[in-house]
Amino acid sequence: MSDFPHTPPRYSATFTPAINAEIRRAAASGIYDIRGGGTKRHLPHFDDLLFLGASISRYPLEGYREKCATDVWLGTRFAKKPIHLDIPVTIAGMSFGALSGPAKEALGRGASEAGTSTTTGDGGMTEEERGHSKTLVYQYLPSRYGMNPDDLRRADAIEVVVGQGAKPGGGGMLLGQKISDRVAMMRNLPKGIDQRSACRHPDWTGPDDLEIKIHEIREITDWEKPIYVKVGGARPYYDTALAVKAGADVVVLDGMQGGTAATQDVFIEHVGMPILACIPQAVKALQDLGMHRKVQLIVSGGIRTGADVAKAMALGADAVAIGTAALVALGDNDPNLEAEYQKLQTTADAYDDWHEGKDPAGITTQDPELFKRFDPVLGGRRLKNYLKVMTLEAQTIARACGKNHLHNLEPEDLCSLTIEAAAMAGVPLAGTSWIPGRNGGF
């Protein structure tokens, strides 16, 4: 033994303990890691933007006294019956199957009380959700699970799902643990199988076909319903332009922070773009086509606060959608359940094995014993509270910027804390007039 001091153990920045653990897990199990939620990596996000409040050059509105409106119309381009929402924060599509019936009911209750819409998911429309949602958007997905003309007609809007932020280019997944009798019946599948939905629609391919498909849906619903097209954040300029060309009333754009019920971790973490980088491209596509504010833009993926809402709208969105945040508001990942999370070898605020159906909060499960724990009335009230708080927060910021409607927020109200966010969002780096890449286009 040398008397010289030893070099202390040094971890590799490439082969970190977490990476090595995943290698060992894959070697032992023979299956990729599947989980719920969106990306967990650090990304340029709304936190990297700040609002420039009013000063001498512009004056603010008086908080609580001067009006700052929050309502939004969706589907004004072609639909005979466009949707009018009191607030611009909507509930994103989450399937019955991924969520329990009571959780869907709670989403409907909370959203309706707050004056906004909910959205079905890859599993059809449930009575719990239709019955408790004043405004319900019905998703039209590649799997077409539960799809039928009666539900199309009793929906308030229809969302043709081309992709989602957690997995642009990927299909749905619901593992056998959650394919209960009711879920199997609604999806015409054998009970207990691992369901893997197709990633492409079965009866159309490409934007020209999409236009014909949208036309068919409009004919079936007598041109009454707004038709949304949802895309994952990958090529937002072209996807938005093509959705507009195909006849969409509304484009829904989901960044990679957007959650999923179950997908391969490698897909969630390595495919797609952050929502901050997506919004300006989508808005530019709408502006280039002369359709900004005529075709509405709903953005999602990592919306958590009224500040996020205000920033998304300042960048040009008409409304936002929340999924993960809504589940947290209902009670998902609650530290009060820590002992139960520990039994599942995880911890509160990190639990993401939603595909296993063992959710201690009784939200992402089909186990009747677990979802008995969840009170849909209380859950709905919590969601309503959260939505109202987000709206108040967004109004507070908008008034400080001198705006009497959230839609009047604009990129000029923003600056960026980082060069990356400045380049992505197309707003100046704080204290400068520099927008990286602006002269070179996107």
Binding site: G176, N188, A198, W204, E216, E219, W223
Partner: protein, 229 residues
């Protein structure tokens, strides 16, 4: 008979009139002339009426049909009778790709050939094709029956669930997890019924068919089957 000139009156007027038919209507017999390949003809009908389209149709004719009997006196474009719930759709000519896609009930009869992806993701519909079907037909087919009097193209029944596939002619190749299965009495009975209702009982006999279905090896993930995905 109600005769509707699509060329003059337009698609919206046609579908609006058909959607207005409810319950015990006396206007049960319809004829559509001059279809000229229009899309979404008679899409979303929900009434027990008979509709004859005199000519060829574009995409999604009879889409999501409920109750109606719709006969196309010509060929059908992509997605004929897509997501049909009930009723009957009869194509006298050929059908383009995705015929009967995601259909949940009712009967689709194609008297000519059907192109690729016939019966894709079918969920309970019955399909009778007098001619051949193209590649990737019955991909991810979940339930229902398809009867093919001719041949099937490549990758028949890929990633199949519980649909039953009956083919009289050759199958160019089977898709992942699709295998030939034993014909039992219940299958002969299904064939006899579908050949009769599909206006094909004078062309083929049940004992001339072979049955294909799911090997069910991909129902739950196993790394040793990864090459099949």
């Amino acid at each position: 008979m109600q005769s509707f000139d699509l060329g003059k009156e337009g698609l919206r007027a046609l579908n609006s009139s058909l959607h207005a038919l409810k319950g015990q209507t006396n206007m049960t017999d319809w004829e559509v002339i001059n279809p000229k390949g229009a899309h979404a003809i008679a899409a979303g009908v929900d009434a027990p009426v008979d509709i004859t389209v005199r000519g060829s149709t574009g995409y999604y004719c009879a889409g999501m049909n409920k109750q109606a009997t719709i006969r196309i006196k010509g060929s059908a474009g992509p997605g004929v009778a897509e997501n049909m719930m009930s009723g009957t759709v009869i194509v006298d000519g050929d059908a383009s790709q995705y015929a009967g896609a995601t259909g949940r009930g009712g009967l689709l009869v194609i008297k000519g050939n059907a192109a690729s992806r016939c019966g894709i993701s079918m969920k309970g519909i019955d399909i009778v094709v007098h001619g051949n079907i193209g590649h990737m037909s019955c991909f991810m087919a979940q339930s229902g029956n398809i009867v093919v009097l001719g041949d099937a193209g490549d990758a028949l029944g890929d990633s199949l669930y519980e649909a039953r596939l009956f083919v009289r002619g050759s199958v160019k190749s089977l898709g992942a997890d699709c295998i030939e299965k034993e014909m039992r009495d219940e299958h002969y009975a299904i064939l006899e019924d579908l050949l009769r209702r599909g206006e094909a009982d004078h062309k083929a006999k049940p004992e001339e068919f072979r049955r294909y279905g799911s090997a069910r090896k991909l129902y739950n993930f196993n790394i040793d089957n990864a090459a099949a995905y």
